[in-house]
C-alpha cells in the first residue's frame, strides 16, 4: 500500500513544480529593483532626445477601454453585410457582424481594442520598421531613408511613397526660422533642459500631481517611473505612468489607468529590447510579385495648404488660440467643443448611414453619447460635438451652457 502511495508522488509533484516555476518566473520578472533616487525633473531630462539611437524589440499593446461589445469586422462594407443578411435564415442573424468599419476607421478602432504584438526596429532617425504580428498574417510599416513602405500580407497590398528631401529641408528651415523668431517669447530658457523640465512640471502641476513612482523592471531593464494623477474629480483618467529606461532614457512603457479600474485601460510596453544595431536587411523592402502596389505621393506644402483651405469654416488663428487656452484653463476636466458647422462631412455621413454609430453610442436627452474607459463623446442633436476625457455628466453640463 505504501508503495502504491509513493507512486502517486510524481502525479502530485509535476504540477506543483511547474506551477512553482511559472510563479517563480513571474516573480523574478517583476522583482523589485532600486535605482539611485532621482527627482521628477531629473527623470524628465533623462528622456532620450538623441535621434541616432538604435534598438530593436518586441512591443505589446493592450487596450481595455470598456467599449460596448462590438462585432466589427474590418473591411466588410455595410452593403455586404446587408446582402448576407438577405441570404441567411433569420435564426442565424446573430452571427452577422453588427456593424462594419472600413479604412482608417477600422484601423483606429483596432488600435483602441484588444491586444497586439509588434516587433520594432530602429536605426537612427531615418530607418525604422514596425512589424505587426497578426495571427497567420503580418503588417509592416517601414521607413528606409527616403522610402516609405507599408505592406499588408493578408491583402497582398503595399503602399509606397517617397519623401521629397527638399520639401523636408524647407519645412525644417521654416520651423527653425519660426522658432528662432519666437524663442524670445518662450517663458523658459530653451537652451537649458533643466529649465524646460521645470517649466513643464510647473505647468502640468497646476492640474495634476506629478510624482516619482517606484522603480520597475521592464523588458529586463531597470526603469524610472513618473506618475501623473489629475486633480479634481471630473477626469476619467485616474493616473498615467511613464517608464523610462535608466541607462538610455528610452521610454519603455506607458500606462493609463481609468477611474474605477485596477488594470490599465491602455498600455504599451516593451516585452524585450536590445540596443544592438538591427541588421540593414530589416529595412529593405521590395514588394513581392503579385502584390498590388499603390503609389502614394507624399504631400507637398502646396497640398497641405490646399487641404487646409478646403476644411469647412476653418477657425481663425485667434479663435483657435482662444479655444486652446480655454481648454488648457479647464485642466483635465477639459471638454472640446466642435460646433456643428465645423464637424467634418465624413463624420456626418457616418452618423446617418453607418450602423456602427448606433452600435457604439447610446441615447441621452438631447443626443447620443459614446462612452469608453478614457473618453466620452456627446453628439448633440443639433450637430455639435463635445468630447473629453471626462464624465458624461460633465459633458452634458458643458453642453447645456
Amino acid at each position: 500500500m505504501s508503495r502504491n502511495r509513493r507512486r502517486w508522488i510524481p502525479a502530485v509533484l509535476a504540477p506543483v513544480i511547474i506551477a512553482g516555476s511559472v510563479l517563480g518566473f513571474s516573480v523574478q520578472a517583476n522583482a523589485a529593483i532600486d535605482l539611485p533616487n532621482k527627482s521628477a525633473s531629473q527623470i524628465l531630462q533623462m528622456i532620450n532626445t538623441n535621434p541616432d539611437i538604435a534598438f530593436s524589440g518586441r512591443i505589446v499593446k493592450k487596450a481595455s477601454m470598456g467599449l460596448p461589445p462590438m462585432n466589427v469586422v474590418p473591411d466588410i462594407s455595410q452593403s455586404m453585410i446587408d446582402e448576407a443578411a438577405k441570404r441567411m435564415p433569420k435564426e442565424m442573424s446573430d452571427f452577422l457582424p453588427k456593424a462594419s468599419a472600413q479604412g482608417q476607421l477600422a484601423l483606429a478602432l483596432e488600435f483602441f481594442a484588444g491586444t497586439h504584438t509588434a516587433n520594432i526596429y530602429v536605426d537612427g532617425a531615418n530607418k525604422a520598421r514596425l512589424q505587426v504580428l497578426d495571427l497567420l498574417s503580418e503588417r509592416d510599416y517601414i521607413r528606409n531613408n527616403n522610402e516609405l513602405w507599408s505592406y499588408d500580407a493578408g491583402k497582398s497590398r503595399a503602399e509606397h511613397s517617397v519623401i521629397n528631401e527638399s520639401e523636408v529641408k524647407s519645412a525644417e528651415n521654416d520651423a527653425r526660422t519660426l522658432f528662432n523668431q519666437n524663442s524670445g517669447k518662450l517663458p523658459f530658457d530653451y537652451t537649458s533642459p533643466a529649465a524646460v523640465a521645470e517649466y513643464v512640471l510647473n505647468e502640468a502641476g497646476k492640474y495634476a500631481t506629478i510624482s516619482v513612482a517606484s522603480d520597475a523592471k521592464i523588458a529586463g531593464r531597470g526603469a524610472y517611473q513618473i506618475t501623473i494623477t489629475p486633480k479634481g474629480n471630473q477626469s476619467l483618467v485616474a493616473s498615467a505612468t511613464l517608464s523610462i529606461d535608466a541607462a538610455t532614457g528610452l521610454p519603455l512603457a506607458a500606462r493609463v489607468i481609468a477611474v474605477g479600474q485596477s488594470t490599465p485601460a491602455f498600455e504599451v510596453a516593451f516585452e524585450s529590447i536590445t540596443f544592438d544595431k538591427p541588421a540593414a536587411s530589416n529595412f529593405n523592402f521590395t514588394p513581392p510579385a503579385g502584390t498590388r502596389v499603390v503609389e502614394v505621393a507624399a504631400p507637398t506644402k502646396a497640398d497641405v495648404l490646399r487641404e487646409i483651405a478646403k476644411a469647412p469654416q476653418a477657425p481663425s488663428e485667434n479663435d483657435a488660440r482662444t479655444q486652446l487656452e480655454d481648454l488648457a484653463a479647464q485642466g483635465w476636466g477639459a471638454v472640446a467643443v466642435i460646433p456643428a458647422a465645423q464637424v467634418p462631412a465624413e463624420l456626418r455621413l457616418l452618423q446617418v448611414n453607418n450602423n456602427l454609430y448606433k452600435e457604439l453610442t447610446k441615447p441621452v436627452s438631447g443626443g447620443r453619447v459614446f462612452t469608453s474607459a478614457l473618453m466620452n463623446i456627446f453628439f448633440a442633436d443639433n450637430g455639435d460635438v463635445y468630447a473629453g476625457s471626462v464624465t458624461v455628466a460633465r459633458l452634458l453640463e458643458v453642453a447645456a451652457k
Binding site: W8, L133, S137, S281
Partner: protein
C-alpha cells in the same frame, strides 16, 4: 554491459511497438486520409480556375495557385484545429486502453517490462505517429503542388522572398512545430487511456480536450488563462514564416507542450503503476 543490454531490450520493444503501430491498417487509413487534405485542397483550387482575390478564404489559399509550395502550409492550417487532433486522439487514446480492451495488456506485463517503461514506449509510438502525420501532410502537399502549380521562390509574410531550399527548411520547421504541439496532446491522450479499458472513450475524450481548449481560447473573458492552454500557440507556427525568422512562438509553444507532457506523463505513471490490471 548491463546498460547496453537494457538499451538493447528497450530498443527491441520500441521497434516492435512501432512495427505493430505502422502495420495496422487503421494507421495507414488515417495517414491516407491526412494525405487527402492537401490533394483535395490543390485540386479544388486548380478546378476553380479563377485566382482567388488576396485576403479571401483561409490564410495562404490565395497564394496556392501562384506557388505550389503553399499547398502544405494551407493544408496544415486547415488540419490543425480538428483533423490532426482527431488522429492523435485515436492513436494516443488507444495506447493503454486498447491493449486492456483486447486483453493483451496482461501478457505485455508478464514479460519483464516495467509499467513505466511500457508507458514511455507507448508515448514514443504516439509521437512517431505525430511525426508521420505532419510529414505526410507536408510531403504530399509539396508533391501535389509540384504537379499542379508552378513552383518558385516563396514569399514570406513579411514580403521577403526566399529560395526554394530555404523554403523547404521552413516547411520542415513548421512540421516540427506542429509535431511538438501534437506530442503535448499525445501525453494527455496517454493519461486518459490509463483511466479506462474502453479505447473509444479515451479517444473521444482526448479529442474533446483539444476542442474544449480551443473553444476556451476564443473566450475573451478567460484571457488570463489563455497562455497556459494546450492549444493556444498551435497556430503560432506562422512566426516561422516571417523575416527575420521569429522563434518566440516556437520557444513558448515548446515550453507549454513540455509542461503538459510532464504533468500528464507523471499522472499517467502514477495511475498506471497503481492500477490493478485485470485484463
Amino acid at each position: 554491459m548491463l546498460r547496453d543490454k537494457f538499451m538493447e531490450g528497450f530498443g527491441t520493444l520500441v521497434r516492435s511497438e512501432l512495427s505493430v503501430l505502422f502495420r495496422r491498417r487503421r494507421t495507414w487509413a488515417m495517414l491516407a486520409t491526412i494525405a487527402c487534405i492537401p490533394i483535395f485542397l490543390a485540386i479544388a483550387v486548380q478546378l476553380s480556375g479563377s485566382t482567388i482575390p488576396p485576403g479571401e478564404g483561409p490564410p495562404f489559399l490565395d497564394r496556392v495557385s501562384q506557388n505550389g509550395l503553399f499547398v502544405g502550409f494551407t493544408a496544415m492550417i486547415l488540419a490543425i484545429p480538428l483533423f490532426l487532433p482527431l488522429t492523435i486522439g485515436v492513436v494516443a487514446g488507444d495506447t493503454i486502453a486498447g491493449e486492456a480492451n483486447t486483453g493483451t495488456l496482461r501478457y505485455l506485463l508478464i514479460a519483464p517490462v516495467s509499467r513505466a517503461r511500457l508507458l514511455v514506449i507507448k508515448f514514443i509510438g504516439a509521437s512517431a505517429f505525430a511525426i508521420a502525420a505532419t510529414a505526410t501532410l507536408m510531403i504530399t502537399g509539396i508533391i501535389v503542388g509540384l504537379i499542379l502549380f508552378p513552383v518558385g521562390p516563396v514569399t514570406l509574410l513579411s514580403g521577403d522572398v526566399i529560395s526554394i531550399p530555404a523554403a523547404l527548411l521552413r516547411i520542415a520547421l513548421v512540421a516540427g512545430y506542429v509535431t511538438i504541439s501534437l506530442m503535448g496532446l499525445s501525453a494527455v491522450g496517454l493519461f486518459i487511456s490509463t483511466l479506462t479499458v474502453i479505447p473509444v472513450g479515451a479517444m473521444a475524450a482526448t479529442v474533446v480536450v483539444s476542442t474544449v481548449s480551443q473553444i476556451l481560447a476564443t473566450l475573451p473573458q478567460l484571457e488570463i488563462i489563455h497562455p497556459y492552454l494546450l492549444t493556444f500557440n498551435w497556430l503560432g507556427f506562422a512566426d516561422l514564416l516571417r523575416a527575420p525568422m521569429d522563434f518566440h512562438s516556437m520557444a513558448i509553444n515548446t515550453i507549454v507542450q513540455i509542461a503538459y507532457i510532464a504533468i500528464f506523463g507523471s499522472a499517467a505513471y502514477s495511475r498506471f503503476t497503481t492500477k490493478d490490471i485485470l485484463s
